[in-house]
């Protein structure tokens, strides 16, 4: 009876497109009609018999829609994330493509075939506040192999995998990290059903995805190598180049940083050779003088040695440190 009433109301809504949407609220989702929905069919007949007319209704035929277990996972990181000494944050989306509320078990696997190294999984987190950025202390941490909170049908969740480079990785090597989501109710070949375990009180049936899906993100090792070369130029007090007492030796230390990454906290240190004396005020970086004192600039020099703090130097750069000593 209610059905007929509802349908009579519809034409009053006017445009056909408007009522199509209104008539099937359960099908607004791409995943299909919501699990637990009861489909009810009633036929009505009208007729005349002699002088009288009659109406008769059929019984109501009801079918409850069961839960379809389906999921899609996508790696959201477009290009491999360059990773050095700090960890990389990888993003994945897990979408419940089924028709009922479902939680998904999350497994992050760094051992993907073809990897040049396997990353270390540090943390798995849910983008709890939905800002697409990993916020430590805010975003809910998920242990590997545990389940997300229930995701509504057609709903999506962003997950982060925070990974570190292993010591074995060398510059430029690639590695993929796979995130797999499995329906907590169950996985299996499409069509496998779990009696009475569906959202909405029906059964749960494995959909085309097998109720399990995975996505890949990648990192690329971004490391730096440092080479140091030392050279000396000797000038004696007679205009020649003889190592006699009083001759001055200018030492040059060239630090060459290679690779795609960066060298951090890079220091160039050297001891003053025995039998020589450091010449005060001769310490230079890239040809510019540094004071000997430990102060605002990057260099310190004393009778025992020199120390220049180069800080962070990215690959492809060189830094030249020089200082003078006099032969005793």
């Amino acid at each position: 009876m209610n059905r007929n009433f509802a349908h009579r109301l519809r034409p009053a809504l006017g445009l056909a497109t408007a009522f199509t949407i209104a008539a099937f609220p359960g099908c607004a989702s791409a995943a299909g009609v919501t699990a637990g929905t009861v489909i009810q069919n009633i036929a009505t007949a009208t007729f005349t018999s002699g002088a009288s007319s009659g109406t008769v209704q059929s019984n109501t035929v009801s079918v409850k829609v069961d839960e379809l277990l389906d999921v899609a996972v996508a790696g959201l990181t477009v290009a491999p994330v360059p990773t050095g000494s700090t960890s990389a944050v990888l993003s994945y989306s897990v979408t419940n493509t089924g028709n009922g509320s479902e939680a998904f078990r999350i497994l992050v696997d760094p051992a993907v075939a073809g990897n040049q190294f396997d990353a270390t999984i540090q943390t798995i987190a849910i983008d709890t506040n939905g800002n697409s950025t990993y916020d430590p202390g805010v975003d809910q941490i998920l242990a590997n192999g545990t389940a997300t909170p229930a995701i509504a049908a057609d709903g999506s969740l962003r997950l982060f995998a925070i990974v570190n480079l292993p010591a074995s990785a060398t510059d430029g090597q690639n590695s993929q990290i796979r995130l797999t989501a499995e329906a907590v109710t169950g996985i299996g070949t499409p069509g496998t059903s779990f009696a009475g375990q569906g959202a909405g009180g029906g059964d749960a049936v494995v959909g085309a995805s097998g109720a399990s899906a995975s996505g890949l993100d990648a990192i690329v090792a971004s490391l730096a190598g440092v080479a140091l070369t030392k050279s000396a130029v000797l000038v004696d007090q007679f205009g020649g180049a003889q190592p006699v007492p009083g001759a001055v030796i200018t030492y040059s230390l060239v630090a060459t940083v290679s690779g795609t990454g960066q060298a951090e906290s890079l220091h160039v240190t050297d001891a003053i050779p025995a039998g020589t004396t450091y010449q005060a005020g001769t310490l230079k970086l890239q040809g510019a003088a540094l004071t000997d004192a430990s102060d605002g600039d990057q260099g310190v020099a004393s009778a025992s040695g020199i120390d220049v703090n180069l800080g962070t130097v990215t690959g492809g750069n060189t830094r030249t440190v020089s200082f003078d000593v006099k032969i005793n």
């Binding site: 519809r10 034409p11 008539a23 829609v65 069961d66 059964d203």
Partner: protein, 159 residues
């Protein structure tokens, strides 16, 4: 099993409705009995065939066959026999065979074969109606002789 439980409940409701109806007028000469089966394509030895079964497990995309069996249980002929069936929420009329049915895409206001019906396209014009737009089905039989019976069916797809 759950489908039967719900059916039983609906049956009781139906009985109550007809009982009140009977007080107002004479017993209905025509009986309608609805049923539903799930239509699965089963491939055996490389050959696909349709298998109809009770809809124990139904998910979006499944095909259902709704049927209404009618019978003139009275002693007199019944004329102008028209069976109307709103397409239930959650399913749509399957495209296969939809063209031969008399349908409405506007809640039962206008009727015809699907090919001649149109809908507003939301941009001031119209577009041809599709099977998924069908809101109601109708079968018109001129006369049912006493004892005459038959079954009306339509194929639906769970949305």
């Amino acid at each position: 099993m759950k489908a039967f439980r719900i059916l039983g409940l609906a049956g009781a409701l139906f009985a109550a409705v007809t009982a009140t109806g009977a007080m107002a007028q004479t017993a209905q000469p025509v009986e309608l009995k609805g049923d539903v089966k799930i239509d699965r394509l089963v491939t055996e030895n490389g050959a696909a065939r349709h298998v109809l079964s009770e809809p124990e497990v139904v998910v979006p995309g499944d095909r259902l066959i709704f049927s209404t069996a009618y019978r003139n249980a009275g002693a007199a002929a019944v004329r102008n026999f028209v069976v109307t069936n709103p397409v239930p929420e959650g399913v749509m009329l399957a495209p296969e065979g939809a063209g031969t049915l008399e349908v409405s895409v506007d809640g039962g206001k206008n009727w015809g074969k699907l090919a001649v019906l149109a809908l507003a396209n939301g941009q001031g014009g119209t577009r041809p109606a599709q099977s998924s737009d069908v809101t109601h089905l109708r079968w018109m039989l001129s006369t049912l002789a006493p004892g005459a019976q038959g079954t009306l069916t339509y194929n639906a797809i769970v949305r």
